[in-house]
Symmetry: C2
Subunit: 332 residues, 2 copies
DNA sequence: CCGATTTGAACAATCGTTTGTTCACGAGAG
DNA sequence: CTCTCGTGAACAAACGATTGTTCAAATCGG
């Protein structure tokens, strides 16, 4: 307690507070020294609750995350945590249960005023979420997706990443390139499909509907989607996610197609899984950690009244070449 | 604000507080109704900070987690979150950066008094951690490991899980069973090795040092460990973790050993990865969610002064049979 | 040497709740 | 009709920190 420090130093708590907080004030060097030593001796740390009440800010920010085990989010959290710490904020993570609505969660959490702002790494993206966000008492930013009418959002440049992946396949000589898409309703899935189509068109290739299958974000979906693509005899596949790619590997194996001998496979989002499967997957590495960082910095700027920036769309970091892609040598 | 509700209802804030908190008090039905309606109308929620200051408890518990993307921890978090919510506590997760010391982190976080207790899912287990925990101002419990001299800990019964895995391999007719161990210094790694040895001894089999390799918790470690085991020509492997098993699959593939045709593979800890690799892995499912739950319940009991229970050692939930194990038919 | 000014530090209010205590009023007992 | 008691609700003091204001002593100029 501050009062203990003050008593120990023989001063008023207000004086102790000014010294310890570094507030500009007229305090003699001796008094300052006595207070600092007393604080040291008593291992004083200001009670965050009392500070929060008096200052009307908690110096903490909350982050709502679905799927903590998704490497996209765990690296994003890393970036967010560093940025928060840098600015003197604590980052408190709240796990969104699979069934729970982000809208409800945000509203419920907001009511208690435990944090100064929210990082929303939303899985869903419905009108209910937008409404709920609009009623929040504190600033917020949205991660991992663009959203109209929010103060700030940080998203990945899915189209650029998809183009990078497809261009890599093109450079290896592939011409019949399939796409295992994510959810085509979703922001990320849609952007990746778009980039895939852009890359093909830029190369003067037609897009064939039978070369695209919606796979979602599960192993089963990837396996099923890959089975649907097989009849179109692609020589390479761009998968929208690692997990779908792992599912694709299973189907390819069952069908007796060798990777990368018979077909190349590239996936978006690098992560540990890329090295767990056989063959290890070539991927496009995305700046997920940086996404967490810029979102957090923007949120803190909002909290501290330094205004909003424009949405950040983060370019891919580059290709991670592994064993799942190879030049196309066959006659197609 | 409570004062707004009170004004709206034409009563004193103290009366409004008593009604809204459900405190036993002498309040006329009409007054009660007016207050409740006013609170409803103003969408009143008590300010958690002010409550925390007055009550000297935050009604939140913190959880320190290394490796958020590890399925062991994400499911543990799920269990902890449900238990916390059940008891009216918020669960705030803090991510421990790979380099950071749990001891420092715990001390630093504790100083701010933001939570009523800590769930420590420690990765390291040194004396420094024990010392740091001993100085915490609030109760704490340790997860995922046993530890002497702490108020409570919840751990997995690694030996029982290892026995279950090995007994499965024995029942399939395997006699030369190898073990890809975790860190042999660590609590979990040691327990698994012990169970492996117990199961072999119970079956009247000798334990051969050349059938055990320390693999750690990485793909590379698993691959390397598996390579070291190959000369001993095991017919089955019990891997201490999924990730090590994935590494083992790589080495086996490179050596031209078919799974499960030439060698069976079973791993501890079920998780999404088990289905991503080829072949899908037979695993021992562990009660990680329940571990989170019991740890949280015990912590809340400590917080609320209901005394400590004895450490919980949680038995495995069972085998998940997939394609990586098969009866041994060869002549060994 | 005295009044004006600066300096150093205490005083006191406040943040939003909760809760022990006081108080006014009406009803019941004698 | 008065005294006592019970009821319903207001009053007021905390919780621990921060910060505007006040105040006494020291310093300075003339």
């Amino acid at each position: 307690m501050l009062a203990d420090v003050a008593r120990e130093a023989g001063v008023d708590p207000s004086t102790a507070s000014r010294v310890l907080r570094g507030t500009v004030a007229r305090v003699s060097p001796e008094t300052r020294k006595r207070i600092e030593e007393a604080a040291q001796r008593l291992a004083y740390h200001a009670n965050a609750t009392a500070r929060a009440l008096r200052l009307a800010r908690t110096e903490a920010i909350g982050m709502v995350v679905p799927q903590l085990d998704n490497p996209v989010f765990s690296t994003t959290i890393g970036g967010a945590q560093r940025a928060a710490e840098e600015a003197g904020y604590a980052l408190l993570i709240v796990h969104q249960e699979p069934g729970a609505s982000t809208a409800d969660l945000a509203r419920r959490l907001d009511a208690s005023r435990r944090v100064d702002g929210w990082l929303i790494a939303a899985a869903d993206e419905d009108a209910a979420l937008r409404d709920a966000l609009a009623t929040l008492a504190v600033p917020y930013v949205v991660l991992n997706r663009q959203m109209q009418g929010v103060p700030f959002c940080a998203a990945l440049d899915n189209a650029a990443a998809a183009r990078m992946a497809v261009e890599h396949l093109l450079s290896l000589g592939h011409r019949r390139i399939g796409h295992l898409a994510g959810r085509l309703q979703g922001y990320n899935g849609m952007g990746r499909l778009l980039g895939y189509q852009q890359a093909l068109q830029a190369a003067g290739l037609a897009t064939h509907p039978e070369l695209v299958a919606e796979a979602g974000y599960t192993v089963g979906g990837g396996a099923e989607g890959m089975r649907r693509l097989l009849p179109a005899r692609p020589t390479a596949i761009f998968a929208a996610t690692l997990v779908a790619a792992a599912g694709a590997l299973r189907s390819l194996h069952e069908a007796g197609w060798g990777v990368p001998h018979d077909i190349s496979l590239i996936a978006m989002h690098d992560g540990p899984v890329a090295e767990l499967v056989h063959p290890p997957l070539t991927t496009v590495r995305m700046p997920t950690s940086r996404m967490g960082q810029v979102a957090t910095e923007a949120l803190i700027a909002l909290i501290e009244g330094r205004g909003a920036e424009r949405p950040a769309i983060l370019a891919p970091e580059g290709l991670i070449l592994r064993a799942s892609t190879a030049p196309w040598t066959g006659n197609d």
